[in-house]
Assembly symmetry: C2
Homo-oligomer: 328 residues x 2
């Protein structure tokens, strides 16, 4: 690999001049610049980013930490962040944490040691104390972590309320809720929204709320249990789409007809929901916009040290599909 010195000697100038050409800074004579550029292309020289990073403490790298890369919601989010960061000349890297605080801190440590410029994080396990160890700009995405951290989320509670109201309007008389892990902020919000709408109903039972851990398998098992114990349930609001798919699977295995016997509505709006049969009605988050916005805020904070905490909350919309409306 050629270095800046090789370029300098080939062009007959000092390394400083080469550096000035590279960074388009300071004064460089037009002809000299030409010579340097010629040398650069002759040698196929690429500046060593590690050396650059060492000097200026920046790496032009942004990382996204997600809890579960196998949940399609996160690849969709990642795509958005990737596109935006790339447009802004950052290298984007994706890290999977399993919502395991240890893996999380391990990545954060490793990334900081590599002088990562900023981190976007989807987490529910990280603590305030750990956050204080992070010296680079952070933006929380999808879940709120701390009050002094910028975040990009959606109106979870309102979305949940909307979902339940919609099921009611469809004529559902007994509506259950499959929720996520209880330590996740949006689990709480979506649950609150659900409760807002049902807690005063005469039919409501606390056993209508069961956790599915935001996972397909748990949700499927939980749903089977729920439906066997409560055959009267005719509507389910599911806290995310992956679990929604599990609910559909469980219901179908129990021989229920969707949406005739049971209406199901999810939350997220991942494209998977439209690929299955019956397709899944859902509360759609603007996933791409959220990822983009998070990246935008992060880059803003990287460039502007006197950042103010920004909390962006997106609206959600109902996406009506086959799991609630009769198929034509």
């Amino acid at each position: 690999m050629p270095t800046i010195k090789d370029v300098a000697s080939l062009a007959g100038v000092s390394v400083a001049t080469v550096s000035r050409v590279l960074n388009d800074s300071g004064y460089v004579n037009h002809e000299t610049k030409q010579r340097v550029n010629d040398a650069i292309s002759t040698l196929n020289y690429r500046p060593n980013n590690v050396a650059r990073s060492l000097f200026n403490g920046r790496s032009q790298m942004i990382a996204l930490l997600v809890p579960d890369i196998m949940n399609p919601f996160f690849p969709e989010l990642a795509r958005a962040v990737e596109d935006f960061t790339k447009q802004n000349d950052y290298t984007f890297v994706l890290c999977n944490t399993d919502d395991d605080p240890e893996k999380e801190m391990h990545y954060i440590d490793a990334l900081q040691q590599k002088s990562v410029d900023g981190i976007i994080i989807v987490s529910s396990t990280i603590t305030e104390k750990e956050l204080n160890q992070v010296k680079v700009p952070i933006v929380a995405l999808d879940r709120i972590l701390s009050s002094n951290l910028s975040s990009v989320t959606v109106r979870n509670r309102e979305g949940a309320r909307h979902a339940v109201k919609y099921l009611k309007a469809l004529g559902c008389k007994r509506i259950a809720h499959i929720c996520g892990p209880e330590n996740v902020s949006n689990t709480k919000d979506r649950l609150s929204g659900y409760l807002d709408e049902v807690k005063d109903m005469d039919w409501f039972l606390s056993s209508y709320v069961v956790t599915g851990e935001y996972q397909f398998d748990s949700a499927m098992a939980a749903t089977k249990n729920l439906l066997i114990n409560h055959p009267e349930i005719d509507g389910i609001f599911v806290a995310n789409d992956v679990m929604g798919v599990g609910v559909l699977k469980a219901a179908q295995e129990l021989g229920l007809r969707i949406p005739k016997d049971l209406c199901v509505i999810g939350f997220d709006g991942i494209s998977l929901g439209d690929k299955i049969t019956p397709s899944l009605t859902t509360i759609k988050q603007p996933i791409y916009e959220m990822g983009t916005r998070a990246a935008e805020i992060l880059i803003q904070q990287i460039n502007d040290p006197v950042f103010t905490v920004q909390r962006e909350e997106f609206e959600v919309t109902l996406l009506e599909r086959e799991s609630t409306s009769v198929r034509r």
Copy 2:
């Protein structure tokens, strides 16, 4: 951020001694070591990886380049690579290339400038010429790129043959094939396997082979066309599972009963296949093992400069599910 100098002065030793403690190299008196370690924890010191990388040209970072992060096959693969590399003290990063040669080279450039130690790549677009620009160890995964590159793949042709034979054994009389993009090596192999089994059949028509570009949408559209033009088709071998899901969706929208009217078998064995209704019969690749093995080979090549090209080919197995067998 404290540096090695801060640690050294706090412990009353030179930076060399601190470095020796950090790397457990050379001689260090036991008491001195203790003092240094105390200083390290007092200051909460973490060595700067960028400086390390600059000196020794290694970054302890391994990257995986995948063509489509939204296809669940790749997150599953990524999980395997991540787990193995992490166990071996590498930082793992995942990059999405869209099978776009430009994005691919951009990532490869950026990663090399960051002194990445090695790259695992799933690609069909990269050229021999571009591969020569890569100075770090590479392993090709899922698809073969060049004869002088280590690779981890599966027996695609045999798997395809197996799939078609199985459909025949089920009693399918007219078997079609939805294939991937023609420039991908495993598209060709799977197609060859299909042709091996059907080209001499009296019913075979070349229009029974259509491309689905390894994408859900294309596959769904292609399948609808196919089934409308050829209502006699009673079995489809689909070159990957994501397209298999699209085929099922298309067939269901056309009102066909699966598997009664149409049997469908995919290829990959992603967990999504088991989440949908009907679940998708498939030729299962040992995804996790493949990712692990690719990482293992890469690390081997990183550590051993006189590497020999290794080509590993895994067996595939038939995973029988509802899209071909009558549901109980």
